[in-house]
Symmetry: C2
Subunit: 224 residues, 2 copies
DNA sequence: TAGATTGTTAATCGATTAACAATC
DNA sequence: TAGATTGTTAATCGATTAACAATC
């Protein structure tokens, strides 16, 4: 089984399966069928079977996939069964939101330190995580050996932040800014592009609206 | 030209072109070639040409695409040339980050009101935008007629928030929670999946590491 | 002019879906 | 048992890339 050359598209579907399975388990089920999953997630059932098979789990005809085992299999496949420490640079609202993001623990990531250049923030705590001066980055990295660097700075600071993180020996960057980061080929960079997502949304509004006014408020519509 | 049936993949590449062109314009250029763009963005030049052509702009051999015109063309294509008002529900850190997101104005979106159920927040201002009681949602919607609903609540509140927004006549939802939202087929839902992005990142770490330890801090590496 | 760059047609590549035998 | 569901092979579909004539 060629487990290494999968597209990012496949990988990016897996978390949805995972959260579906968490829910299913919470409601007391022990097995889950691709058929049921497909109708909830809006993904073709064959694709779900194929994706799940890729993680190494197998189901039983008529019964479905064992939930516990499948969860474990996906987590292992994504590397979410391991603990990883992360540094986050840019302790603004977005950085704080990520630091307090409860679901992050599902992924094995722990944000151990925040960094900022704002003296008002340095020395404070955000959701229990200390904010350090950005100049202490390399010192802290030597002590804590983080695996992942998260960038939530303003766009203008993103490239230099990336450089600093790489200089500290960090080789995986999670970039929340719109900046296009340059780094050596050995550095893994994953961008969260809010603009791309918004582009898809507004384009759909445009196409769906298609001449006729898109928004038609329903006069006296039932409200909850 | 079939301008309506394009994949989300194509659409999601356009903002990167846009920001590249903003930069190019700032440095005084009037024209931009797909060749140059390709090397910066890491996208095949043929694909860039094709994508740009889809938005309706044409370039000239040897000269490239006219920057101003191309920017306008992409913005128009994405519907970013129009002003759209948005309601945001969930005035936490993520909601605040979005409200203060400077690049949002490039997209034509204005977040006009925030909503929350936390009495501490209700009545306050976040980046100049007022926070209202969530129970006032439908009243406010009748007055302000927002086109887009942004959900930055905790996951548990996402579905009921979505229902409320839809009941107000909002037909486009931008969902930042991991919840899988259900709504009528006429409702446009766009999810920003942080978990998917992280899955891609950690999977790459896993594959690249591949047995040998991934992280190799460079002893005495040059630090900036 | 020469050659860099365009837009487009054809070829390739990869991802998704259909079909179906196997089986719990 | 019967039939729901599995895993997989083959077919389809769509996206990306290669090739190339046109042209500024």
């Amino acid at each position: 089984m060629d487990r290494e050359n999968l597209s990012d598209l496949t990988i990016s579907r897996l978390p949805a399966y995972l959260y579906y399975l968490f829910n299913a388990r919470k409601s007391g089920l022990t097995h889950s069928s691709a058929t049921a999953m497909a109708s909830v997630l809006g993904i073709h059932m064959t694709q779900i079977r194929r994706d799940l098979a890729l993680t190494g789990v197998t189901g039983k005809p008529k019964i479905g996939h064992p939930i516990d085992e499948t969860i474990e299999s996906i987590q292992k496949f994504l590397g979410w069964d391991r603990k990883r420490d992360a540094f986050l640079v840019g302790a603004g609202n977005l950085g704080s939101a990520l630091t307090g993001y409860a679901d992050l623990y599902t992924t094995g990531i722990t944000i151990v330190s925040l960094f900022d250049d704002n003296p008002m923030k340095i020395g404070s705590m955000v959701n229990g995580v200390p904010v350090f001066d950005i100049t202490e980055l390399s010192f802290a990295a030597r002590r804590l050996n983080p695996e992942i660097g998260i960038i939530t700075t303003p766009r203008e600071a993103a490239q230099s932040t990336c450089d600093s993180l790489v200089a500290c020996g960090i080789r995986a960057i999670w970039n929340f800014t719109p900046a296009i980061l340059e780094a050596g080929p050995e550095i893994i960079i994953e961008n969260v592009s809010i603009a791309s997502s918004l582009a898809v949304l507004t384009r759909k509004i445009l196409v769906q609206g298609n001449g006729i006014p898109f928004r038609q408020p329903r006069e006296g519509a039932e409200e909850q």
